[in-house]
Symmetry: C7
Subunit: 96 residues, 7 copies
């Protein structure tokens, strides 16, 4: 099964345990207002369609690890994984 | 009878039982915030009309299986089927 | 008497009894959130005027049978008929 | 005294008694949600000014009888007449 | 002292007593929803600046007598006069 | 220390006592709805950046005395002075 | 670990103690409505993407000391530092 997010959405595999192991030191305090989460992008939408019908692609790609707002998007369990479909506007930053 | 959705709307036959049988493992937890649903597109609107009168078509076609927000759109019973007319902006992803 | 709706509005003769007789099977459940209604378009506005003064016409014509949101627009009794003046954005689909 | 409405506004002489005498059958039920009223346009604004400074005129003229939303605009008594200054967006239709 | 209103604002000297003496018959009922007032424009802003940096002037000039919404803008006492700085969008009509 | 306001913001030194001494007669009543204040501009942002990347400058300069809304912007004490960083849209007029 | 903020966001290291030591006199009163904070930019997003796909860069760079609204953005602890990811629109001014 493959997800093709619409427009400016991406699908993210939520990986909260990734926080301390791989990223080396990032700690999201429980008191953080918007409860940011960390995950890995598994599917990227084509981008928005402008008023001439031209598609403007997203500045994101499969494999990007991102910080996003917990309250954005919708969460699913797909084949045992925790997946979120979320809008570009709810992604705060890419972690490199 | 045939439905021709207006502008950026599509008509979807809601198929919740499709979730576990055909899609192989997608499970939508009862606790999901926006209660996503799965269905099959049975009619597609022409798309939005831009300010010059040009129509920008939708990136969706009849037969596409999609995840959409339960709270978007309006639901009807048509010839015994559960049909929803929904805006492009309430469709999260195409399932391939 | 003739109505000429302004801009992107249309006038619809509300025909709820049309639902089961002519349309062959469409049933709008009482529990439908937006209480969709069925009617026939009796007058169509010219469309919106863009920022250059050009009029972009509506994708609707007199005689079209449409599903629309009960809560959209304003209802009148005109010459014994139940008429609604409604915006394009409150029309969900054309029934063919 | 003459009123020159600004931008996309018009001045309307409210004529509710016109409903049954001249228009032949239009009855606005007391239960109508937006309380539509009938009146005659006595002054028309120049229209909106676009971003290049060009004025896009209104599709309305003095003498047009219109249906409009009771809750739109502001009402005055001018020289014994009941006058309303109202935006284009609150006018539903021209009656011909 | 001279006021130069910014962008699409104007300064108005509020002259409520002008209503019955000069304008010949205009009476604003106490029950009017938006409490319209009458005044004379004493200063006019340059107009809005479009996205190319071009200024689109206002269709108003010093000396224009206008009807405006009581609840729009801010009121000052300047050199013994009652002055209001108000946006173009709160001015309903010019009185000629 | 120097402040460089972002985009369409300016920095203002709030000078309420300037009201009666220099401006000759302007009195802001305590009952004024938006509590306008008077001050002197000490720093001006570059202006907004349009969609082509071109910067559209502000119609304001250092030294301009302005009336602005008390409730707009954020106030700081900087080197003993009362400074406000405020958006162009909260400035009502320049006092000349 | 490196953060690449998305679109018009920046990452800021919050440095409240910087207020009195380095900036020479700026004092943010506890009563300030939006609780402004001071920090140093450690990462800058690419800017917004316009409707032709062209990226319009931000007028900010790494090392800029800025005043920003406490209530804007999301706060993290990263490698022992207090980091905020914030939108351009929540940054009030650069301190030079």
């Amino acid at each position: 099964m493959k997800l093709k997010p619409l427009d400016e959405r991406v699908a993210i595999e939520v990986k909260e345990d990734l926080v301390e192991k791989n990223v080396g030191g990032i700690i999201i305090p429980d008191t953080a207002k918007e409860k940011p989460q960390i995950g890995e992008i598994i599917a990227v939408g084509p981008g928005r369609t402008n008023d001439e019908g031209k598609v403007i692609p997203l500045p994101l790609k499969i494999g990007d690890r991102v910080i996003f707002s917990k309250y954005g998007g919708d969460e699913f369990d797909i084949e045992g994984k925790k997946i979120k479909i979320i809008s570009r506007s709810d992604i705060l930053a890419i972690i490199e």
